[in-house]
């Protein structure tokens, strides 16, 4: 093992690899911080590049991209209330209020430190616990998946919205949007209204960009016009976006005391995120959402959540980043990619004639260690580059809005187009932008729709797979212990959350 570790170190620690990892982080962070562009798009664009680079440098670039992009997405979430990547949705809730208070620097630092810390912890879980965790992951079959998804959806819908009924509307709407496309069992198309481009359903990227970036442009534009009509525009501009540079320099600092206060939240959220990450496909957004909800429940000051609580940022960021490490476990132990980045790493290995799988550790252990070292290294780069990046990027809040809005619109078009080289996707983005605008007017929570949309197809196919396997016997969900546990947890959590909400209302 030590020998393999050393040879892995030897492979990684050459200037070329460090350069690519650093470039990946920087590029990912810039892409992530531009609303409309995402780290996934960066991966798609950079992919041809990685094949020229040789396996280690190529993987360094890819991992750098995902890690940089993951944090980069939080920057516009905090500064403009527009998440740069879907996983940064939850960061908006507490990040943007801090910007409004002129404390964007503090929020950004909290986000950076929480995400890097959680990411490092989750990488360590990957490195040291890969084999046992992979065994757990294999135990999770269709019935278990079904219960876990139901748990996530119900808890998020009840907790995320002030009005539980609207939370449920969001969930069911998301699930319905997820039914468009191809029937998972019979392979026939459904609800596509003779549009073959919809045969795979709505692609997630254009939908997310439309709902989160484009609709937010519409809303903020409307606000701006309304303010101008009331001739208060200049005052608002000064109040919200200029004070970042003047008032109190302390506002942008994050003291050790403040950060220490969020440490328990970070560790709890890392645990939740890592647990979510073990199950391939559930995803970072659920991780950050559940962490946020838990942090709010455990907090001594739950009333601060939503008004700029540092704990809220810490939970969202840590919960989101902790998913990444364990998500790679099925890849390194079985050769099964758990997310897009993993799928591309797999492809990168295979093009070089290497096949990740059960015996990869014995035959190509040095490669695996090289991958681990790259993970930790990109993490370090994220911290370093991120620290300098946020210092500069913070100033962007004071530029005139027309630059920002125009830029976001153009980048939304590019971001929706690139993944599938399809103009149809750009129209999809536009339609979801309008839908998101309307739903926000009705105070329906958009992130909940996106989570439900994301999990919906999986819920359906796992549910139907469970029934196919059991021969249409619905008790299968109650006889499997893991599945039963989660169903009981769901009921308990709903009961607890509603009771708490009632108590808050009567207080």
């Amino acid at each position: 093992m030590l020998e393999q570790l050393l040879s892995g170190l030897n492979m990684v620690l050459v200037p070329e690899n460090l350069l690519w990892a650093g470039l990946g982080v920087a590029f990912g962070m810039i892409l992530g911080s531009i609303p409309g562009l995402t780290d996934n798009m960066g991966i798609v664009l950079m992919l041809p590049f990685t094949y020229y680079l040789g396996p280690i440098a190529g993987i360094a670039l890819l991992m750098g991209l995902t890690k940089g992009g993951n944090f980069g997405g939080s920057i516009p979430a905090i500064l403009f209330n527009i998440p740069g990547t879907p996983q940064a949705m939850v960061t908006c809730i507490d990040g943007h209020p801090l910007t409004k208070q002129g404390k964007s620097g503090k929020a950004l630092k909290q986000a950076l430190f929480s995400s890097v810390m959680a990411d490092a912890c989750s990488d360590l879980i990957l490195i040291f616990l890969a084999a046992p965790v992979a065994m757990i992951a294999l135990k999770i079959g269709p019935p278990e998946y079904t219960s876990i998804i139901i748990f996530s959806l119900i808890v998020i819908s009840v907790a995320a919205s002030d009005k539980p009924l609207r939370g449920l509307v969001a969930v069911v709407l998301g699930l319905l949007l997820g039914t468009v496309g191809t029937d998972p069992e019979f392979g026939t198309t459904r609800l596509i209204f003779h549009v073959i481009d919809l045969a795979d359903g709505f692609h997630i990227m254009p939908m997310v960009i439309g709902m989160l970036a484009f609709s937010e442009v519409l809303l903020q534009l409307e606000q701006q016009i309304m303010n101008r009509l009331r001739k208060r525009f200049s005052e608002i501009q000064a109040e919200v976006f200029k004070n970042g540079d003047v008032i109190n320099p302390d506002y942008h600092r994050l003291s050790w005391k403040e950060f220490r206060g969020t440490l328990p939240t970070i560790f709890r959220s890392t645990g939740i995120g890592a647990a979510i990450g073990i199950i391939p496909g559930i995803g970072t957004t659920v991780g950050s959402y559940l962490s946020y909800i838990m942090a709010k429940q455990y907090s001594k000051h739950p009333e601060k959540f939503g008004n700029g609580a540092l704990e809220g940022i810490a939970a969202a960021e840590a919960g989101n980043n902790a998913v990444n490490g364990p998500n790679l476990i099925p890849l390194v132990t079985l050769g099964i990619p758990g997310n897009l980045a993993a799928a591309l790493i797999l492809g990168g290995f295979m093009i070089k004639g290497l096949v990740p799988g059960p015996t990869f550790m014995q035959t190509n252990g040095d490669m695996l260690y090289a991958l681990f070292i790259i993970l930790l290294l990109s993490n370090f780069f994220t911290l370093l580059i991120g620290y300098f990046y946020i210092k500069r990027v913070r100033k962007v809040t004071s530029i005139p809005k027309f630059y920002l809005f125009t830029g976001i619109i153009v980048f939304s078009v590019i971001g929706s187009y690139v993944s599938y080289a399809s103009l149809f996707d750009v129209y999809v983005m536009l339609v979801f932008g309008i839908l998101g605008y309307l739903l926000t007017k009705f105070k329906i929570n958009l992130p909940t729709i996106i989570v439900a949309f994301f999990l919906g197809p999986m819920l359906e196919s796992k549910f139907r797979q469970s029934l196919s396997i059991s021969g249409d016997d619905a008790t299968v969900f109650l006889t499997k212990p893991i599945s039963l546990t989660f169903l009981i947890l769901t009921i308990a959590a709903v009961f607890f959350l509603l009771k708490r909400k009632k108590k808050l209302m009567t207080d």
């Binding site: 664009l45 950079m46 041809p48 009924l165 609207r166 449920l168 509307v169 069911v172 709407l173 699930l175 319905l176 039914t179 029937d183 069992e185 019979f186 026939t188 459904r190 609800l191 596509i192 209204f193 442009v217 519409l218 809303l219 534009l221 409307e222 606000q223 701006q224 016009i225 309304m226 101008r228 009509l229 005139p400 809005k401 027309f402 630059y403 809005f405 125009t406 830029g407 619109i409 153009v410 078009v413 590019i414 187009y417 690139v418 080289a421 103009l423 750009v426 129209y427 536009l430 932008g433 309008i434 605008y437 309307l438 007017k441 009705f442 105070k443 329906i444 359906e460 549910f463 139907r464």
Partner: protein, 148 residues
């Protein structure tokens, strides 16, 4: 009419459309329709609950929330949507870079930019950077159309 009533009836209308038109005509077979159908039922139930809540709060003389969907500001803001549709439509025909250049000018005027210099600079620089980074460096082809 308050928000609850509007939302509830809008959702209910959508459910009816799905139930009576979309599902019978665009899903093959009862088995494939089972899951969407059960979702529609759930949605209809939720919308009824919202409607009941709306009626109740109206009876109690609850606060008449101001309807914010259609006002002067939102109509102006939503003007972006048709411009955007034209923009997307023309990408394939004219060519991505040219049409982006033109529409950046349009959007900026729309959003209240007035200084010609900044409009020109931005509309020229943004496509140029995109071309250099995505088009040239990463060699990703955008639709070329008749111009560029």
């Amino acid at each position: 009419m308050n928000d609850e009533l509007k939302l509830g009836s809008a959702i209910l209308a959508c459910c009816c459309f799905m139930w009576f038109y979309a599902i019978p005509n665009h899903i093959k077979g009862p088995q494939a329709a089972l899951y969407p159908k059960s979702l529609i039922i759930a949605m209809a139930m939720i919308s009824l609950m919202i409607l009941i809540k709306g009626i109740r709060s109206r009876k109690n003389g609850g606060q008449e929330e101001k309807w914010t969907l259609l006002n002067e500001a939102s109509v102006k803001a939503l003007l972006v949507v048709p411009i955007m549709a034209v923009y997307i439509f023309l990408i394939d025909i004219v060519g991505f870079y040219t049409i982006t250049f033109v529409f950046i000018i349009l959007f900026m005027l729309c959003f209240g930019a007035r200084r010609p210099l900044s409009i020109c600079l931005y509309s020229a620089l943004l496509p140029a950077i995109i071309y250099l980074v995505i088009g040239k460096l990463l060699s990703f082809p955008f639709p070329a159309g008749i111009l560029f």
